[in-house]
């Protein structure tokens, strides 16, 4: 794929073939984009919004006590120390030694209090921001953002999910929004099937056949419902963008220094790929890491897992800052719940939604703050607890989602984007 990059800087052959394009007629020119799904004024406003999101999902539940909210030398504190960070007065667990140096970019909410303590309920509820039950399946955050903000001006698919195991196109995150808002999943960071232009088709021919298809579609849509044709155009546009950016998946193009800083382990590689994915203009990137459910041997597990997170996460925050991307990219680190302060007989920590922490940084978020606190034992929130619905409001606000978009239209049924009884946490907002 190395040659793609150099080719892209040249004129495309078809740019010199105006006569053929003329034949295709005026209908082929405009193209239907996501724009046509929205009212014009909102679309114009969104065109200016270049906010992006990176969600790091630590599946199974990260221990807050071994990360963002250490309680050393207390009954449930465990063996690790707390260390100072780049922000005087804020300490984190020593397992976050690299992240501690980036604390001045981060905001940590230590007063998260949610409800579900099973994985099956918790994963869905946290990812959906726990909207009120209205008999529909709400989208996960990535699909919601794909719907609300659409692709960035890059035209890249709005929702890319970097994950271990299988890839493909995962519709299940989209809920009632429909498969179109699902995630393009890069299984183990690998590109999707059929990404490379078939060798029997030249770039020029590819352009031509797509223009012809588009023309047939536009003709078909006359007098008919438009939504399916728009959806068809949209997926072909995304496919084209992906094919054009095949270099995204070329791991060999990362520098040795990058690899060393992020680490060559799975989460390290995936966060490095996430950086590049954000650089290509994908609106929402989700990175999943699994096996955080440390019911047994929690401290050895954390010693390994949290360090696997710490190194690439700190490198990523540093890089986003260096590239002036942190003003535009909202970074979120969360799980379905935290872990029990009480240490069980397997030296493990179990599921604990009552008092845990979520970290964030970047677009619209205050820098270098801790908001909320737990009691001295770390067992419960001390003061105002915050549910996931509050965080969704906070993040939508940080992303600059306009007020008129804070409601979905589900075939005539108005549905609030986030829980009606929750509201943004102003202490977290810049």
């Amino acid at each position: 794929m190395g040659t793609n990059m150099s080719q892209r800087q040249l004129c495309k052959p078809w740019e010199h073939r105006y006569s053929r394009r003329q034949l295709l007629g005026t209908m082929a020119a405009g193209g239907l984009g996501l724009r046509s799904f929205l009212q014009p004024s909102v679309a114009d406003e969104l065109a200016k919004n270049d906010k992006q999101v990176l969600l790091i999902w630590l599946d199974g539940g990260m221990s807050q006590l071994e990360s963002w909210d250490p309680k050393p030398n207390t009954e449930f504190g465990g063996p690790f120390r707390a260390i100072p960070t780049s922000v005087p007065g804020i300490n984190v667990c020593e397992l976050l030694q690299h992240t501690a140096k980036q604390m001045h970019h981060l905001a940590v909410l230590r007063s998260v209090c949610t409800q579900d303590n099973s994985h099956s309920a918790g994963v869905a509820r946290i990812n959906r921001g726990d909207p009120k039950n209205r008999g529909v399946e709400y989208p996960f955050l990535g699909s919601a953002v794909a719907k609300l903000l659409g692709p960035t001006s890059s035209g890249m698919p709005p929702y890319v999910w970097i994950k271990p195991y299988s890839g493909g196109f995962k519709a299940s995150d989209a809920g009632f929004l429909g498969a179109k808002y699902g995630a393009l999943a890069l299984g183990d960071g690998k590109p999707p099937d059929n990404l490379l232009l078939n060798k029997s088709i030249s770039a020029e021919e590819n352009e031509l056949r797509n223009e012809l298809r588009q023309k047939f579609d536009e003709r078909y849509a006359v007098g008919r419902r438009k939504e399916w044709t728009e959806a068809n155009s949209y997926v072909y546009e995304l496919a084209k963008k992906l094919m054009d950016r095949g270099d995204l998946f070329d791991e060999s193009s990362f520098t040795d220094k990058d690899r060393e800083r992020y680490g060559t382990h799975e989460l390290g590689r995936h966060l490095l790929l996430a950086r590049r994915t954000l650089e290509t203009g994908v609106r929402f990137v989700k990175v999943n890491s699994y096996h955080w459910d440390s019911h047994g041997d929690n401290f050895n597990a954390c010693d390994s897992l949290i360090r696997q997170f710490d190194q690439p996460f700190a490198a990523l925050i540093e890089d986003l800052h260096d590239r002036s991307m942190l003003n535009n990219v909202l970074v979120i680190v969360m799980s379905e719940f935290g872990r029990t302060p009480k240490i069980n007989s397997h030296v493990g920590r179990d599921h604990w939604p009552e008092a845990w922490s979520i970290a964030m940084a970047g677009a619209g978020i205050k820098r270098g703050v801790v908001v909320g606190k737990t009691n001295d034992q770390g067992t419960f929130v001390d003061g105002q607890p915050h549910d996931i619905g509050d965080l969704f409001h906070t993040w939508f606000k940080a992303m600059g989602v306009p007020q008129e978009l804070m409601q979905y239209d589900n075939h005539g049924q108005p549905l609030p984007v986030a829980h009606d009884d929750c509201s943004p946490i102003s202490e977290l907002l810049a």
Partner: protein
């Protein structure tokens, strides 16, 4: 609207001719006519789209009843046939053709298994069932009680056995099986009623779920046979359950959801075990079970009309009423009265003007770019049925139609030397399912273009090979034609099942003229564009 009126008269007079009815009077209305009246009564003054033209109708009915688009010969014959009753004749012909059973096998496989996987015995079972026109109640009885002793039921066990397999980290998903039986045969998704009475669907009670669940907890896979089968342990006692809302201990015996509980059968020491499953299968799909009748009537309506009268299809309850309650009642009771004869039902639906109406409002063809001449479709709801609802094609329909259009179907349907299906067809089928089907356990109930599908059509080698010139295939036929008028007709009839308009002919001639030196390539690019366009990939 003259066309529309005329068409309506023709269709309805045909129905009368066919049924041999001398005149109209209320009690002896043919069902098709009653359906159209009930639809018209709720159209809120919205002028319906005109009747489909013959080509539009033919493509639609072939896709629905034979699972593929017609050949150019079939289309030409149909378009040239002057007979007034040719539509009804075509419907009967398609219902009688061997392709009907294949289409129904593919359709019901997807409906019943939701892409969990396939099995040869299972496909044979479904194929045979539709070849014999087994009625729906009989099929469901066999699915619910796949008696291994009864040879004609072998293969039906796949419905249970596949669902009892562990997948991923999940142990045997008994709640999932219970849920699916409710969803697929009663149109009721009882999942939330597993742990408590449903919060906002008053009709769904926890005992409805638990009663059915109690039966399935005794089921396990019988892997010792060469066909998919299950083993049933005798039920010993009632199932105890607790609502998560109040700690009250409750219990239930076996129960068909929304019906009363029945007693656990006494097991005698001698003789075979008495099967609860057998009793369930006997009492579930009855003529008197109106919930059972409404579910299947609604599902067949959806297959033909592209939108359930109750939608989503598995949420029948009083808070989600049908768009046309009288119509659903009528369909359900008529269907039950005809002993759940699927072929009869599909025929009745196909004869309606509702089915035969166009998916498109007419426009001034001379100036298609001028939006002012278009009727706005944005306010037309899918449940009004005044504009035919475009339908998703199953991966199988899309594959067979693509093979038909590109002139490769006959070749690929030839079995291999060992009698097994052509390996190229097997390979293509797997690829089409991977590219166009939903993920397992997700119903395929709406048009769903995906980037995955787009990348497949853009770049997959086997698909693009269908457009390489091989003796007798579409590209070959077109390349041998010197008369460009004939070429244009052949291309459009092959792919779009219609003749090209004047504008399209002119464009095609210009396209060919511009690419004089690369004619084959130009034709291939054009054919690819047509095959990937909406006009081809949806059933409209």
């Amino acid at each position: 609207m003259i066309r529309f009126g005329l068409c309506r008269i023709i269709i309805h007079s045909l129905i009368l001719m066919i049924i041999g009815m001398p005149a109209l009077w209320a009690d002896d209305h043919p069902l098709a006519l009653q359906i159209d009246e009930l639809i018209a009564a709720k159209s809120d003054g919205q002028q319906p789209a005109p009747c489909s033209d013959d080509a539009e109708f033919l493509r639609r009915i072939c896709l629905d009843l034979s699972g593929r688009i017609p050949t150019t010969d079939e289309t030409r014959r149909f378009l040239d046939n002057p007979a007034l009753d040719k539509r009804a004749e075509m419907i009967d012909q398609l219902l009688a053709a061997p392709t009907y059973a294949q289409r129904m096998q593919e359709l019901f496989h997807v409906v019943l298994m939701e892409r969990r996987g396939d099995n040869e015995k299972w496909s044979n079972y479904l194929r045979t069932a539709f070849e014999q026109n087994k009625h729906w109640d009989q099929i469901v009885r066999e699915l619910l009680f796949p008696d291994a002793e009864d040879e004609s039921r072998r293969g039906a066990g796949f419905f249970y056995s596949k669902r009892l397999e562990a997948y991923g980290q999940n142990p045997t998903d008994y709640p999932g099986l219970t849920r699916d039986v409710g969803r697929l045969f009663l149109g009721a998704d009882l999942q939330c009623a597993q742990c408590h009475n449903h919060l906002f669907i008053d009709d769904y009670k926890q005992h409805d779920f638990q009663g059915l669940y109690s039966v399935y907890l005794n089921l396990s896979i019988n892997s010792g046979l060469e066909f998919p089968a299950v083993t049933e342990k005798p039920m010993q006692k009632k199932l105890e359950f607790v609502s998560v809302f109040d700690a009250t201990q409750r219990e239930t015996g076996p129960r068909i959801p929304f019906a009363s509980e029945f007693a656990i059968p006494e097991q005698s020491k001698e003789g075979p075990a008495v099967s609860v499953l057998a009793r369930l299968a006997d009492e579930f799909p009855t003529q008197g079970n109106s919930i059972f009748a409404k579910n299947i009537a609604n599902r067949l309506w959806f297959v033909m009309m592209g939108r359930g009268l109750v939608h989503p299809l598995d949420l029948h309850h009083s808070g989600n009423p049908p768009s046309h309650p009288e119509l659903l009642d009528l369909l359900a009771s008529e269907f039950a009265a005809h002993q759940y004869d699927i072929k009869w039902m599909l025929r009745e639906l196909a004869l309606t003007q509702t089915y035969q109406c166009s998916s498109r409002f007419p426009v001034t063809l001379a100036d298609t770019a001028d939006a002012a001449t278009e009727v706005s479709t944005t306010q037309i709801s899918p449940e009004s049925y005044v504009l035919f609802n475009e339908k998703r094609m199953l991966a199988e329909q899309l594959l067979h139609s693509t093979l038909q259009a590109t002139g490769n179907l006959d070749r690929l349907q030839q079995p291999a030397a060992d009698g097994k299906p052509n390996p190229e067809l097997v390979d293509l089928t797997a690829k089409y399912v991977a590219a166009f089907a939903n993920e397992a356990r997700e119903p395929e109930d709406q048009i769903n273009p995906t980037v995955k599908g787009a990348l497949f059509t853009l770049n997959d080698e086997t698909l693009l090979q269908l457009l390489s010139r091989q003796p007798g295939n579409l590209i070959d036929r077109l390349m041998t034609m010197t008369d460009e008028q004939l070429l244009a007709e052949e291309l459009y009839l092959s792919i779009f099942t219609r003749k090209p308009t004047d504008v399209e002919r002119t464009e095609l001639f210009a396209w060919l003229a511009q690419n004089g030196d690369g004619r084959e390539k130009a034709i291939r690019l054009l054919a690819w564009s047509m095959l990937t366009s909406m006009e081809f990939v949806v059933n409209h």
